[in-house]
Symmetry: C2
Subunit: 251 residues, 2 copies
């Protein structure tokens, strides 16, 4: 596998494309329904930009990195070719019998176009419809990452939900902390040692065993004060819901 | 300030005591209403263990590290002596006029007795009722930490709430992720590169600007599937509440 087609130009397509390019693969074409987006990514990857699926030329592997809603439509509109999607949620069964060699390469990572990262540290979860194709995409995966995991669609789905909690939701908690401090003109960086230690300690512990704070202590007095002090109703609701959950989970 | 009295034997008292001891201070006495707890900490700190406030002897500084609910009762039962509490939430006004030199040293950190940490990285938020005492406790604080911040009770309160989101609540999100994976016999460590990157990227960005995931994309289809797949009603409620909040915050 040497020549790659990218369908999609979002966060995942961008990081996968960059990692492949960096490791000697040739990105032939980048498709996006918005030509401008295809062109933007093509420029970096030295690929051809297209916005019509009819213009797809042959390649060794097509990587379909589009929103889950768009996968099915695109599959309907392309012919059989070696192909993987990159979704955590969508199963391998989305590929109908038309595709002889199909699978999944799901990067278990939070990817933003604008934020660089060491891609080789990103676990890639692999699934394929046949052992030969699995071997091929596993080889490709190993050339861009150190962590390759063979995983069926059912387990990948569970990991995807867990990842929402571990990444998207933690990020939202930090976003709320940022906003609460900004209201009082306090720089968010004051919290960084706390955030660092919070993450450091879960590397060797079940997070539940190192939970701290008013909810863990069932300190109803402080909890009530906090609820009173938070003026934003959206944030107040989150405070209450998570506090309740920590209390229940400790019981 | 050389001789220190510790009132309390919990997570904060333990880490403060250890940091002070390590940096040449003499911990004279450790008080806990449960003698066994006082003894446990005293043993490490080479201090006298007491469980009666009448047994307190003079010292240069008393550090009151007990739950917020217990602060007032203890203050009522001891005489004037140089004293600080370590609470993020309780104001300096909890000290009545009886105390000529009083203040706050609030470690902005998640502290567990069982989890070691580099204490010198912990920001210490300082407040005092007079400039001379403030200078004295600031000097003491600098001998155990690199990050000292003078902060009034009002701002400290805001930081305390933000810290609940940034640490206690992120930890709970990770705890849920842990449980979801455990159900499927998947090791939590698979998420660590994701967690690392999630934290790394907020060091240089407003967390809101690097939010990813189905809620951020308003991918209602995936969100509905996730809600359906999560069987535990407590976790389902958290999923919905935070997802709603991410969507609203993006608007």
């Amino acid at each position: 596998m040497k020549n790659i087609t990218l369908i999609g130009s979002g966060n995942v397509a961008t990081h996968l494309g960059l990692a492949l390019k960096k490791n000697g693969f040739n990105i032939k074409q980048v498709y996006s329904k918005v030509l401008k987006n295809a062109e933007k990514l093509s420029l970096i990857l030295e690929a051809e930009a297209i916005n019509k699926l009819e213009k797809l030329t042959d390649s060794d592997l097509t990587i379909l990195s589009v929103s889950d809603n768009a996968i099915e439509t695109i599959l309907k509109n392309i012919k059989d070719r070696p192909i993987v999607h990159t979704s955590g949620y969508t199963g391998i069964n989305i590929f109908n019998k038309k595709f002889n060699n199909c699978g999944v390469i799901y990067p278990l990572q939070t990817l933003n176009k604008e934020v660089s990262l060491e891609f080789s540290e990103t676990p890639l979860c692999i699934e394929a419809n046949n052992p030969i194709f699995e071997k091929k995409i596993t080889k490709l995966a190993y050339s861009i990452s150190k962590h390759i995991i063979a995983l069926d669609s059912e387990k990948r789905k569970s990991i995807h939900i867990a990842a929402v909690f571990a990444s998207n939701f933690t990020n939202h908690m930090l976003s709320i902390a940022y906003d609460l401090l900004k209201e009082k003109n306090i720089d968010f960086s004051i919290l960084l040692p706390l955030v660092n230690q919070s993450i450091k300690k879960i590397k060797n512990n079940n997070p539940k065993d190192v939970q701290t704070g008013p909810a863990k202590r069932k300190d109803i007095n402080i909890i009530n004060h906090h609820v009173h002090d938070i003026k934003n109703t959206r944030i107040k609701k989150i405070y209450k819901t998570i506090t309740d959950s920590i209390i229940k989970a400790s019981e």
